[in-house]
């Protein structure tokens, strides 16, 4: 587990970036709403495009956060189980080897 942070630095960076994108895009939706209210129908196409881009950014980042967390957690658990099974194997080998040695004698 100690390696958790060191090995998965990529996940952590991606997660920070995704959270920043989600926060900013969610805020920009408000900006778009406010601009839309003020400019009325003068710039409908621009605002709609802006809104679509923001919504996509929000959705992609939100889904991305969930996915990264799931993959990160799954990888952590997999590493943990691997480490545990490695330890078990080591213990078994160390328990078995003296018996063989005894038999040979």
């Amino acid at each position: 587990m100690k390696l958790f942070g060191r090995e998965l630095v990529g996940f952590a960076k991606v997660l920070v970036v995704l959270v920043a994108v989600l926060l900013v895009s969610a805020g920009l939706c408000g900006l778009q709403l406010a601009i839309g209210n003020r400019l009325a129908s003068n710039s409908d196409t621009f605002l709609m495009l802006l809104g679509i881009v923001e919504l996509i950014a929000m959705l992609v980042s939100a889904v991305g956060i969930v996915l990264v967390l799931l993959v990160w957690g799954a990888r952590g658990l997999y590493r943990l189980s691997q480490a545990e099974s490695g330890l078990e194997l080591q213990e078994r080998t160390s328990n078995e080897s003296p018996t063989k040695h005894d038999e040979e004698q």
Binding site: M1, G5, L8, V16, V19, A26, G30, L31
Partner: protein, 267 residues
């Protein structure tokens, strides 16, 4: 810090209209701009501090802490923000507009973000085996970030849920409804400037002390200053104040545990 869903109908206060109010008005479009600037400013200060002072944990571990803080803050700020707007949440649930509410801007709280971020980091540290106290590097960036964000709250005016109660003080601000109000955001910026000076003092602090000082000061401040905000109360305090109480109790508990461990090690 939350534009959108201004649903509590707090505009109904009536006081004498003062001729010398500072006119500010309500400009919600600036809120997200200042919020984004707040994140940028906070991160810039953090980078500067880390480059100047160095770090007690390796870079990958720091990124783990940052990620945990970011996710925790996101969840915490949104959860407390939604809890604050409980009637709106219920209404959205009944009308099947939950998704719309969840993706709507605003409805985030700083206190929720701080507590959520703190909890997220503690969980990540537990799982990652990080024993060091990693919060010191965040104390000053948080002061700067929140202060910049509060400028946005002030400019957003009545569209934001953070405006103050009516007052007849000479520095009352008019947020567009002709009522003089406490500029609570300005009070907070000044307070954060003081906390920032304290936590950035060039002296030997125990590990984690700068962050604990920041959290204690900020939660204590919000506990007091929120009495100047017209918010619905539950047993005398609003939801954010109750969260501050919980946060302060956790800080005290943590400090007591830390001292006991320290004394046990000495013995």
């Amino acid at each position: 810090m939350g534009v959108g869903f201004p649903s509590r109908g707090r505009h109904a206060h009536t006081t004498a209209i003062l001729p010398n109010m500072i006119p500010i008005g309500s400009h919600p479009a600036w809120h997200p701009v200042m919020e984004t600037l707040a994140y940028v400013a906070g991160y810039a200060v953090y980078r500067h501090l880390r480059a100047r002072q160095g770090d007690i944990v390796a870079e990958p571990q720091r990124w783990t802490v940052l990620a945990a803080a970011a996710v925790g803050a996101l969840v915490g700020s949104r959860l407390l923000g939604l809890a604050e707007q409980w009637p709106t949440v219920q209404q959205a649930w009944q009308t099947g507009r939950m998704l719309e509410l969840l993706v709507s801007p605003g409805g985030k709280t700083i206190v929720g973000g701080l507590l959520g971020g703190w909890l997220g980091v503690e969980i990540a540290k537990k799982f990652s085996g990080i024993k060091r106290r990693t919060g010191d590097l965040f104390a000053l960036p948080l002061c700067v970030g929140i202060a910049v964000g509060r400028v946005g709250c002030l400019i957003a005016g009545l569209a934001d849920d953070t405006y103050g109660k009516p007052t007849s003080l000479p520095w009352a601000v008019d947020l567009g409804d002709g009522i003089g109000r406490h500029p609570v955001q300005v009070y907070e910026i000044l307070f954060l400037a003081m906390v920032g000076i304290v936590v950035s003092r060039d002296r030997e602090w125990p590990e984690g002390a700068r962050f604990r000082i920041f959290m204690g000061c900020y939660l204590g401040w919000r506990l007091v200053i929120d009495f100047l905000k017209p918010q619905p109360l539950i047993h005398g305090l609003n939801l954010i104040q109750w969260s501050c109480v919980a946060g302060i109790l956790l800080l005290i508990l943590g400090e007591v545990t830390r001292r006991r461990e320290h004394e046990a090690l000495r013995a």
